[in-house]
Point group: C2
Amino acid sequence: MINLLRKTFGFIFESTLIEEINKIGTLREVSAGEELIRFGEFIQGVPLMISGAVRVNRVYPDGNELFLYYIEEGDTCSMSFNCCTQQKKSEIRAIAEIDSQFIMIPVSKIESLIGKYSSWRQFVFSSYHNRMVEVVYALEKVAFEKLDDRLEEYLDQKSRITQSDSLQMTHQEIAEDLRTSRVVISRLLKKLEQMGKLKLQRNTIELIR
Amino acid sequence: MINLLRKTFGFIFESTLIEEINKIGTLREVSAGEELIRFGEFIQGVPLMISGAVRVNRVYPDGNELFLYYIEEGDTCSMSFNCCTQQKKSEIRAIAEIDSQFIMIPVSKIESLIGKYSSWRQFVFSSYHNRMVEVVYALEKVAFEKLDDRLEEYLDQKSRITQSDSLQMTHQEIAEDLRTSRVVISRLLKKLEQMGKLKLQRNTIELIR
DNA sequence: AAGGCTTTGTAACAATTGTTACATTAAATT
DNA sequence: AATTTAATGTAACAATTGTTACAAAGCCTT
């Protein structure tokens, strides 16, 4: 585990911090689709991403969900960070988008890390800021752009995250993420296909570059 | 100034911190409409709000703007916080919504406060989190709600911030904030008037409670 | 191969939001 | 008071997005 830690966080954390994280953290591996953080549960710890990609959704009591951001190698989830320090139930849900590795740092140790290591503080601050920038970006998309452009960006992002031009997903799933109906997505996808930007098959969307 | 500090921040900051802020900070007063932070400038410091309300907008190079959140008594602007530590030019604009007082803490002192005072760190963390929650809230509104509901909420928020049921603003200004056209806002306002929720006059919207 | 389930395609129509154009009214200026 | 300017009202129409309903196609199970 310490080698993974060094590889991903060696440039930002001093070696004493790396060693401490190695002691108190536990490496976890999840496969695509698995839930790291569930809605309504108390959060066990803060995840440090080693590899892969995890999507973070805001969840509302009525079951509604809203995509906030992805966390990838070197990131942490600043929303869960706060839940920890406040001992609150999770208002988010985190799902592995692809097979992923991360190190879980238990809640109980968070406070002392903040006190001891300035590089850890820096990391938490910049993590907060980066997540904020991404949520603002999401807001910007919804506020400024039409659905067809948002769909294109959505597909590009998926492709980047899954590292594939062949997206295995249904129109229904896309519709839920973009908060519209399946029919609307099918319609727009067909339009993009006619423009030669992609090819549609059952359960897959082949992006043409 | 120290009395204002004690009144607003006495419950979260230890007295040594209050005294230090009293030394290094400068009290500033702005009247409604004044700009506290301008787009593209280097940020001079982090504002601690004593009274009033300041709106924070994201600004894009093309001049487009997007409302992010208000900061009020006891708040700070977490976006400017990061600009400071990174020595970057401001990507936001802050405008006093009503007459306001705040204490400006110079960039140069920020780092040492973080190292010295855990209550300051707590404050910055929770400030980041609160702003995040507000931006997520804004995203939620745009993603889930129709324009007429968003307009009603917008008017309620304005009323709360300005502490008045008589809003001095034009339809054009509302349209810019909600990213739509003046005609659409006039139409919806007229509908709300017919529903008895408000009364329209030139330059003012009178909310009926 | 047949039947059932899921996914996708498509038409027709409704609702919402955006746009253009111009009239009307209120305030400000001369 | 007359003129100019800014703000609002309204109609007519366009574009986008949402909804319903059903057909067609692909996949899975037996």
